[in-house]
């Protein structure tokens, strides 16, 4: 039998705006059993994040087959399409009108293309554009948000490694680091590898392609490219990803212990220029502690009380 009153307090205290701690204290004092009931339900609540499909795995082939690193790449036209894209990229590369735009870590830049498309680059990003073809971009590293003027006859394409994202009237954000790519769509629709898997990503969907294979998940549209508003918004995101986003946005060297990387984070982190002040506020939010390490920072588990 569930304790309805305790459940009410779980919901109330979980609200980010909750501030009636006096009333909560008085309720707790009414019966010593209440604190215990609250603890039990709060612990159950903590497990809900893993149960609720914030990351509904809709690619059963990839998700059920951890033995193969990137199964989809070798199914059907995937490999052929990848080869085709590579050929196209090489062709474009050899032309002189391809140019690169890079940002240093911590620096952001906004680019307006002739067709009305806007690209915002987060820190530590390298992007190639084509002066002769405003519908092309290649993200080589880092993070960029695309607000695309849609033209059905001539879709905007972003290549990332050997993957292609094709817009269908869209605002979307792509992160590319190492072998992993993440895309979140906040408006319209994006098609992933239109010539191969052709996965449609409507607003509110995200896709990640990394060591775990291809995954499609939900994302809050306003969380997509939230770095442009000076904040990072996450729902059940691996702390490893969060770490990279922070490093890119702040321009700091940031590492995380394996234990910290394996944790997940839900919430909003406000970006702040001064790293000391930023980590003092942000690390406890993630249930971690940040310590200065040489020129950089290290995120580790625990609240930092025992060292």
């Amino acid at each position: 039998m569930m304790n309805e009153e305790a459940l009410g307090w779980v919901i109330r205290t979980r609200d980010p705006e909750f501030d009636d701690w006096d009333a909560f204290t008085i309720w707790l004092e009414g019966d010593p059993e209440r604190a215990a009931a609250y603890d039990v339900l709060m612990a159950a609540d903590a497990d809900l994040a893993d149960m609720v499909p914030a990351e509904p795995v809709v690619m059963p082939v990839a998700a059920n087959d951890p033995g193969v690193r990137r199964p989809l790449r070798w199914i059907g036209g995937g490999a052929i399409a990848a080869a085709l894209v590579a050929a196209v990229s090489v062709g474009l590369l050899s032309r002189s009108d391809i140019y690169s735009i890079t940002t240093r870590p911590g620096e952001t830049r906004s680019i307006a293309l002739d067709d009305g498309t806007r690209i915002e680059l987060n820190g530590g990003t390298s992007l190639r554009l084509d002066r002769k073809n405003a519908r092309f971009a290649a993200l080589d590293a880092g993070e960029a948000a695309f607000t695309v003027r849609h033209d059905a006859a001539n879709p905007f394409r972003v290549t990332v490694g050997d993957a292609v994202f094709e817009d269908a009237g869209t605002v979307f954000n792509i992160v590319h680091s190492g072998d992993a790519t993440r895309i979140g769509v906040s408006e319209g629709k994006v098609i992933y590898n239109p010539q191969a898997e052709a996965i449609a990503l409507p607003a509110g969907r995200a896709l990640s392609d990394g060591a775990e294979g291809l995954r499609v998940m939900d994302v809050a549209p306003q969380a997509v490219a939230s770095w442009r508003q000076g904040q990072l918004i996450y729902a059940n995101a691996p702390v490893g990803d969060v770490t990279q986003d922070i490093a890119r946005s702040l321009g700091v060297t940031l590492a995380a212990t394996p234990g910290a990387r394996a944790m997940r984070f839900t919430g909003t982190i406000r970006l702040e220029r001064d790293p000391s002040r930023f980590f003092a506020a942000a690390a406890p939010l993630m249930g971690l502690s940040a310590i200065r390490q040489g020129n950089g920072w290290l995120l580790k588990e625990g609240d930092g009380s025992q060292n």
Binding site: D15, P16, W21, M51, V52, P66, A220, A235, A280, G304
Partner: protein, 184 residues
């Protein structure tokens, strides 16, 4: 009894109100809270821990210092509870010969385990869907995306009470599912 302080002194005056000052002004109330929260004899020690952390961290101005301190105290108690139950479970696992290795949920799971996991996700998704689109949306916004109830009510153009009721309904269903899965 508990002195209630204006929570947003820092914001209205634009001054860096030290959290530690707020901490001292509300020491008695925080102690009372920790005791009510089940800290018993350890309440004083926990308060001391909190103080050390505040000193060590040198936090900048916090928008709402008092709720921040209460939340910190509440989290301390939740951590205590979690580590206690984890210890219990570990001891039990040892006794049952299951070994003491805690599996990292992000490690690669065996295929059949992953299928069970997917089944459970589908089950949870189905239960949420059955509650109706509004209840599902409210629950997702609140629990997964961390949006406050007042904001959700504004977004949906419904009353705060409606949001509260939707959340209760979704929580009851999800916690019941969790219970049934845990005992499987």
């Amino acid at each position: 009894m508990a002195t209630r302080l204006i929570a947003n002194t820092g914001r209205t005056t634009g001054m860096a109100t030290g959290l530690s000052a707020i901490f001292f002004q509300n020491r008695a109330a925080l102690l009372r809270f920790l005791r009510a929260r089940g800290a018993g004899e350890d309440a004083e020690d926990l308060l001391q821990d909190m103080w050390m952390k505040l000193e060590a961290k040198d936090l900048g101005p916090v928008a709402d210092p008092l709720p921040y301190l209460y939340r910190m105290a509440n989290n301390l108690m939740l951590d205590r509870y979690r580590s206690a139950t984890r210890r219990e479970r570990r001891e039990q696992d040892w006794a049952e010969g299951a070994g003491g290795v805690m599996a990292d949920p992000n490690d690669d799971l065996a295929v059949d385990e992953r299928m069970i996991l997917n089944q459970r996700l589908e089950q949870a998704r189905g239960i949420l869907a059955d509650l109706g689109p509004r209840v599902e949306l409210v629950f997702r916004r609140f629990r997964i995306e961390g949006v406050g109830q007042r904001l959700i009510a504004e977004e949906l153009g419904v009353s705060l009470t409606t949001v509260e009721k939707d959340l209760q309904k979704a929580y009851r269903a999800m916690l019941a599912l969790k219970q049934s899965l845990d005992t499987e």
